[in-house]
Symmetry: C2
Subunit: 437 residues, 2 copies
Amino acid sequence: MVERRKPIKVSEAIERVMQYAKEGDVSYVPIERCYGQFLGEDLIADHHVPPFDRSPYDGFAIRSADTVSATRANPLAFEVVGEIGAGSTFQGTVDSMQAVRIMTGAQIPEDCDAVVMFELVKEIMNEGTAYIELKRKINAGDNISFTGEDTRKGTVLVKKGTYINPGVVALLATFGYKEVPISVKPKIGIIATGSELLELDEPLQPGKIRNSNAYMIYSQIIRAGGEPVYLGQFSDELETCYNQVKDALDKVDFLITTGGVSVGDYDYLPAIYEKLGAHVLFNKIGMRPGSVTTVAELDGKLLYGLSGNPSACYVGFELYTRPVIRTFLHSYHAYLKKEIAILGADFPKPNPFDRFVRGHLTYQNGRMVATPVGLDKSNVVSSLAEADILIVLPGGTRGFEQGMEVSVILLEDQEGTTLIEFNKPNVNIRRSRPKHG
Amino acid sequence: MVERRKPIKVSEAIERVMQYAKEGDVSYVPIERCYGQFLGEDLIADHHVPPFDRSPYDGFAIRSADTVSATRANPLAFEVVGEIGAGSTFQGTVDSMQAVRIMTGAQIPEDCDAVVMFELVKEIMNEGTAYIELKRKINAGDNISFTGEDTRKGTVLVKKGTYINPGVVALLATFGYKEVPISVKPKIGIIATGSELLELDEPLQPGKIRNSNAYMIYSQIIRAGGEPVYLGQFSDELETCYNQVKDALDKVDFLITTGGVSVGDYDYLPAIYEKLGAHVLFNKIGMRPGSVTTVAELDGKLLYGLSGNPSACYVGFELYTRPVIRTFLHSYHAYLKKEIAILGADFPKPNPFDRFVRGHLTYQNGRMVATPVGLDKSNVVSSLAEADILIVLPGGTRGFEQGMEVSVILLEDQEGTTLIEFNKPNVNIRRSRPKHG
């Protein structure tokens, strides 16, 4: 008996899933371990930058009032009364017509209000005393980086939920975050279904293939910022499967199963959802691949029933699981960036529904070029390793030609975007050169 | 006494460093831990894909010879003698005018040579026996995915040194790599120098700043694929520093120091190189920032003397250390990708030397837009968190305007490129619309 399912739109499916997205906890790790994680709280400046008035160059600190009458014809001499290396301060006083040699980054002496660069003065020695000769007027404040001019204490520098890259780490160090607040990663369970699946160390058998989806999803979870927990394969027996899912739900924040969601003869995940009393958010989406992608919810926990087909499984994860993970990590940009690219090869298949094709991104004179991977049969397997985008081909189109503009979803980008940006209209059939560019 | 140094070109500096680049070892990790690492050996297909003749659709396996006379006017009936789910095989024989129901992915029975899709037949029951009715001729080989048609056993699917993404993991699983050969990461020591530096947990003091470079470099090393080892700060005393460097070299594959390479009054790294008997490859490069970037070599081990200035330190690492790390990881694409983008803001400073400006990448109608970060003083600190490119402004130019084309180095890309591609000429002063494009 084949069940009839009513397909919903991709945007509607995302909306239904995101109603159950929630934010996770925050914990602290030593700064050495924060790279590649996500900020758990806003990064706030704990002091002014610069923390004191300092010199941006090597030069001489002086009192600008002393320089008023300096001209080329009438150079003035200043006695050099000391020097300040970076990290040290000048302890004495600087009187009229005196100067202090100062290194880049060092603190301006209290009596001084300007710095003259080395290149503008002539150094002279006179009876064992060092002088500099200056041929022009210097204004108060010249060559001084003033306290707080780069950043005021208390400023929010990086928002919580941001991916921590080397620049963020530099800021964390500057502001004394020896321990860094990071977003706790959601634990995501994976169960593989399908009686044709062998584990990796099993020898090949007639009719069977190795379980690659579970490990693919495992890596997609890490890339998205989650913590994968592989729970093994489903048993062949309904009651046992039911118990597997029930037990799994106690241990994880979300659960992903791969396979078992079609309406074919051997798929019984729908029965398990029913027995659990889970609320099925949808079980049919107007998209290819992955039309049978199913998401259910039980006590606020999401259960993802991704397709057993590798492409469908891959796409379903990126569209419906990734934004939930990023929300858990407190991201303001939970969605993957969607941009415009030129199609690098013909894609002749008609698209009655929105199609998401794995592709590879290259660049040509500053334009992005998106080429579907795996179109050529003799290359279908290895080319999957190159996938770094999803090419979005809107439904109701008759195939695409090389050179047309298409929307692409950037899979390796860590910055992300908002739902509004993600939902902006896809490029439809347009030629390479946009009218407004 | 200020030493005179002769600046060399960036490409020449890279070439000198790369003469000492060497490949590292290979070790094995469980497949669950390989994501984000680098393949230590070529990934090779250990079996044909598909491993057996299989059905790409749900349908009925038949013997095509039986269908020759089938037409719309003269439909033929085939007895359904069994069914095959994915993962199982058909054990019986299929005789003339018989068919076997077959699921997607299942193995074609030995006697059959074609599959008819569900949609093309009518299923009928006659006295308890199931039949299908077929109205057209089917050719031998129709709807069969033949053994090895996607990939032949022994094919190299992914080259060693490749960054392991979810697609690569799927391939590793498909071909039974329960343990994955990965490139052992080089150990890279970091020593921070500068008497103005405070550790992160020290309270701020007049004239001093916190040590952010060491942690920034620490994260850049991880991003590049290395294993950072923070060895603390240099002492203020030459003999002790010398011993610190000497000890460090025994523990690491490369050593990075930050600061201490200028010809200023307080820098003594050059003295340490001399005392070690290290061969200085260069100590002056025609670039900004980072002109004092110094690299020395001792017994084949590279010692990087990066500038104490944060931007210079950042840039020096990406240009001169990263390709050495990627070579250690066996990459054929050890260099960062360099592409063309539109400048998103004026950059009025003249460039007597090649300039590398940290910037942020955005997209506009499929074109990449590169905007320098930290130009606006009130934003200089926080904007560093956004840096994901280096904008290359060639020497001998008088400043750049918004809308001009510039070369950009993509810092977050993991695919990389070759030296030849990296060295292709930079974009010079050209307007937004290329003549050939």
